[in-house]
């Protein structure tokens, strides 16, 4: 199916492609306007951004990345990255949920190939605008992505799965969840598969509440997840392949994009404030001018870093060689993307706060930056930057360049 989509795209009129991209961008801006309107309420009440997701569904954006042949828009990762940035500018929680959904879609698009069940899932994501969540962490294991405790228990053509997940972002609001588990009851903790479970076949019991500093609308509380399904719902390749090839790099790229969006909105508020000050005192530059210039420079750095990561991720797709050192180099680079963008985004907002001063510190002004700052503090913590740096250092031991 994917090869059909690629051929179709290769023969498409370039004008059609850009028209399709323009319409996706217009859809993203329309949904972002709704998200922005409700961002403060979502944050205050720590609730799922339902208005924004109603708008995203209305704009058919949940199926953006689904191949055209399966009824989606066939959007590239670069386009999805742009949409995440636009949503991040409006509401960080909306941007994060959308980004996490697209990570799941990307995993199924890239690695579900040839499986009728997974093609069917993608068709439903496009047709019915299903929202997909992820359950990788586990109470007994913690956040280690590449280790599972729970196991798939298959009996004939059916399976059963029970996972105690310390967090499933928007779990209660999803239509399906991609769950990591050991391949079978006797499999090693690292011998994992990724299983797509659907709402009609699982039960979720909330284990705790999600009352956090920021990203309050992602509703990432813990759940006891018990699911059944057809063994065809298990992804056809090993989880390590999915994690290395798609889940990890795509996560870092789309997260980086939405963090850039949050920081862009903050800097844009600072710029407006600074221009207002300059207008009030014609002929003189407000003292915060240098900080505005520096913050804008940081955004440009982030944008360039993101473009580089996108280009290298695409290059990897073209030359899917078996070289371990090339794979390590790319993994180290994607780690660097995550640690630097999460850090830079926070720094840019802090500069913006210095520019806006008390107007930024107060809630409810056009220059308020508290939400941006609180939301972005999740960035260095979600997959802790300290852990990522240690992982990068490990990868660099194999660097022969």
């Amino acid at each position: 199916m994917r090869s059909v989509a690629r051929i179709a795209l290769a023969h498409a009129n370039p004008g059609d492609v850009s028209a399709a991209e323009d319409s996706l961008l217009a859809a993203a801006h329309a949904a972002a306007a709704v998200a922005a309107e409700h961002a403060d309420a979502v944050d205050r009440e720590a609730r799922f951004p339902e208005e924004a997701f109603a708008a995203l569904r209305e704009q058919r954006l949940l199926g953006a990345m689904v191949p055209v042949a399966l009824g989606g828009a066939g959007a590239s990762l670069a386009m999805v990255t742009t949409i995440c940035r636009i949503l991040g500018e409006a509401c960080a929680a909306t941007g994060m949920i959308y980004a996490m959904h697209q990570i799941q879609v990307a995993c199924v698009v890239e690695h579900g190939g040839g499986s009728a069940w997974h093609d069917g899932l993608l068709t439903r994501v496009a047709d019915d605008q299903l929202l997909l969540a992820s359950a990788t962490s586990e109470e007994a294991i913690g956040g280690a992505l590449r280790t599972s405790g729970c196991a798939v228990s298959a009996d004939g053509g059916r399976f059963h799965l029970l996972k105690m997940a310390p967090t499933i972002s928007y779990g209660a609001h999803a239509d399906g969840i991609l769950v990591t588990a050991r391949r079978h009851a006797d499999a090693a903790p690292s011998d994992q598969v990724l299983v797509c479970v659907m709402k009609s076949d699982y039960t979720l019991q909330s284990l705790n509440t999600w009352d956090t500093l920021g990203m309050r609308g992602t509703c990432s509380n813990g759940f006891r997840l018990e699911a059944t399904g057809d063994v065809a719902q298990i992804m056809p390749v090993s989880f390590h392949e999915i994690a290395d090839g798609t889940m990890t790099p795509v996560s870092h790229i789309v997260w980086g994009a939405l963090w850039l969006g949050v920081a862009s909105d903050a800097v844009s508020r600072a710029k407006t404030f600074f221009q207002g000050q300059a207008r009030a005192h014609p002929g003189s530059l407000p003292p915060s001018g240098a900080r505005v210039a520096e913050a804008v420079g940081m955004l440009q750095l982030m944008e360039a870093r993101l473009d580089m990561a996108l280009a290298h991720q695409q290059a990897r797709h073209r030359a899917d060689g078996g070289s371990v050192s090339a794979a390590f180099a790319l993994a180290a680079e994607m780690n660097g993307l995550k640690t630097s963008l999460s850090t830079l985004a926070l720094q840019a907002v802090q500069q913006a706060l210095m520019v806006c001063g008390m107007a930024g510190y107060k809630h409810g002004t056009p220059f308020s930056l508290g939400r941006h700052l609180r939301d972005l503090w999740s960035a260095p913590l979600m997959i802790n930057n300290d852990r990522i740096q240690a992982n990068t250092a490990n990868l660099l031991l194999a660097d022969r360049s």
């Binding site: 690292s190 011998d191 070289s323 371990v324 050192s325 390590f328 990868l395 194999a398 022969r400």
Partner: protein
């Protein structure tokens, strides 16, 4: 040579099972070898056998089994002696 490789696997590979219980042809990834651990296996092999594993040989296949690791070490040693 395989005894040394087994010792290295025991020291740095963090497998789910003791290397002594593995057959030479058993799949090390199935035994829990992570891609990060392959870095340490590589460095330990280079140190123990005084070799340098060239970039082109660094594939996932190289770390597949004790047999494949031993084969690679022999090949590189022969090349280094010939050079």
């Amino acid at each position: 040579m395989k005894a040394t490789i087994r010792k290295i696997l025991g020291d740095v590979a963090r497998l789910d099972v003791p290397p002594a219980s593995l057959a030479d042809s058993d799949d090390l990834y199935a035994a829990g070898l992570s891609s990060l651990a392959t870095v340490h296996v590589m460095l330990a092999l280079e140190n123990a056998f005084e070799i340098e594993i060239p970039d082109r040989m660094l594939t996932r296949q190289l770390f597949r089994s004790i047999d494949s690791l031993a084969g690679a070490v022999s090949t590189i040693r022969q090349q280094q002696e010939a050079a």
